[in-house]
């Protein structure tokens, strides 16, 4: 399924279009989280606030330092169900996600492990479009 880059406001007058896809975390379909498709990221990372919002208990979860947006932050890893809607059909997979404190980004990051190893990605910066195809049936 193809997606268009989504324009976001930058400062008082600027605009930046980003390859964003809405991801439902742990079945919370009332609030899909906008995530950036990030081929430079090694994993799926998002704000720890999301874990709190969906009631994920991260106590005892593996903890480590994570680099995102030029900052080093603390993150905890949990295996969660993620869902995106492709052509009107929900596609769900289990992924390891790092939930990070003091998350410096506006969006979650969909990186290699847990996303790009699950979907084939085709992207055109010229057309500002990208397409995702799940590698599983």
């Amino acid at each position: 399924m193809s997606f268009r880059f989504r324009p976001m406001p930058i400062g008082p007058t600027g605009t930046l279009s980003r390859p964003l896809v809405d991801v439902i975390v742990e079945g919370l379909d009332a609030a899909p989280q906008a995530c950036l498709v990030d081929t430079g990221a090694t994993a799926v990372r998002m704000s720890a606030e999301i874990a709190e919002a969906v009631g994920l208990d991260l106590a005892g979860a593996p903890e480590d330092e994570v680099v995102a947006g030029g900052m080093r932050v603390r993150g905890r890893e949990a295996n969660v169900d993620l869902t995106i809607v492709l052509d009107g059909r929900p596609v769900t997979w289990a992924a390891p996600v790092w939930f990070c404190e003091d998350w410096p980004q506006a969006f979650g990051l969909l990186g290699l492990r847990g996303f790009l190893d699950v979907f084939d990605l085709t992207m055109s910066g010229c057309d500002e479009t990208f397409a995702l195809t799940p590698r599983f049936a």
Partner: protein
């Protein structure tokens, strides 16, 4: 625009200012707008919600018309959501709102958006999710509106 608006309601007399309205609205996130809305500090509220917060009276004690008139008198912009059904009226006023412009007012905040409209904006994600649940609303997307290009980039350190 009146500096102070004086009105009778529920057997009491009220004299309120713009600052009173802004202070009252700060105490609650906006409820979903069904028809009329008033813009207070860049957010759309149902007029009756604002007047109820302002007076402490239940919403059943006054009409939307009364609330609109009171808030308009203090200089707050009042609008009406376009109806979903009905014949299309092609005019500049009827064109879709600019979703980027709608987001710009919420830089740095978590927002939930649907069809280009900001449903709710708050300082933290939990408040946004709670609001959606409380009001039975579903968003298309939720995120923090970037403050600058770096927050929207996903860049690694140099």
């Amino acid at each position: 625009m009146a500096a102070t608006s004086t009105f009778h309601m529920g057997g009491r007399q009220f004299a309120v200012t713009r600052a009173d309205v802004e202070r009252a609205a700060r105490s609650e996130l906006p409820a979903p707008v069904r028809d009329y809305y008033v813009v207070v500090r860049g957010r759309r509220y149902p007029p009756k919600q604002v007047l109820a917060l302002l007076t402490g009276l239940p919403r059943s004690r006054f009409t939307t018309h009364h609330a609109v008139r009171t808030l308009r008198r203090l200089g707050f912009p009042v609008g009406r959501k376009p109806r979903a059904a009905g014949p299309a009226r092609p005019s500049p006023a009827a064109s879709a709102p600019d979703p980027v412009a709608a987001l710009r007012a919420h830089a740095g905040q978590w927002v939930a958006v649907r069809a280009g409209d900001v449903l709710v904006a708050a300082a933290d994600a939990r408040t946004v999710v709670s609001w959606l649940s409380e009001h039975g609303q579903r968003a298309d997307s939720m995120f923090r509106v970037p403050l600058d290009a770096a927050q929207a980039s996903g860049i690694a350190p140099r």
